[in-house]
Symmetry: C2
């Protein structure tokens, strides 16, 4: 387990520009909620709400981090990571989050898909180190998986 796992999730407080980096692998099992969407042309109010939701979800105990990418004019993919199903349930049932979701369906999203998934294994790679840091699931036969999945 390397030190970067202990880094604060919200890096915006830092005065230094922070390099983009994916949410690191955590010790399985944990959960990944994959949210893939195509937006409508109406983005009024979207930015403020997205920022507020990000603040809210970071306050959920068991929230591990969030990856987001958006191809201009194309698909948006957001993945939120949670320690367990209870953390997802708390986020799912948050009243302000539900209101935002409703507005999203009415106004911001042309279509979306949500996949709620339990992470069985994961690993990181850093070019500077030249090695993979694996959090591998121990298989039924006791042997660990090789890194390089995906």
């Amino acid at each position: 387990m390397s030190d970067h796992r202990m880094a604060p999730v919200d890096a915006r407080a830092s005065a230094e520009p922070v390099p983009v980096r994916p949410v690191p692998a955590h010790e399985p099992p944990y959960y990944a909620v994959v949210f893939t969407s195509v937006r409508t042309d109406d983005d009024s109010g979207y930015g403020e709400t997205a920022e507020r939701m990000e603040d809210l979800v970071r306050g959920i105990p068991g929230f591990l981090g969030m990856d987001h990418a958006r191809t201009p004019g194309g698909l948006s993919v957001t993945v939120g990571y949670f320690r367990d199903a209870a953390a997802i349930e708390q986020w799912r049932s948050d009243a302000e989050h539900r209101t935002a979701q409703k507005r999203g369906r009415e106004q911001w999203y042309e279509r979306y898909t949500v996949h709620v998934a339990r992470v069985e294994r994961s690993h990181d790679y850093e070019h500077a180190n030249g090695y993979e840091d694996a959090n591998s699931r121990v298989d039924g036969n006791g042997s660990r998986r090789e890194p390089g999945d995906g």
Copy 2:
């Protein structure tokens, strides 16, 4: 189960421009392989290899589709969906894929993380229809989850 699930995965053969749409929810359980990466400045050969890998993975029995988004200058998120662990294993052990992964570590990726996760529930939303099409996991107590997760 709606008809779009039967659409061919590879839409590039079509002469018509195809609207961007996320890979739809499938009947759980299935697998999502989340690959989050930050690229180096060296992208020589990347495009050809990425295209070749896409062709290859579409030939894997049990491959269900792939979502990809990349924020310019920022994070790239790719999610591949597979029917079962055996399909992932076949993709993972493909010789040409392994060669490409090795080159990726040496040349194209500053850092990346891979999360291999089993999807327990999922749902779609289409604004035009105004409803969510849920593939919900039946919980231990026999009740279905409400849509609106994530």
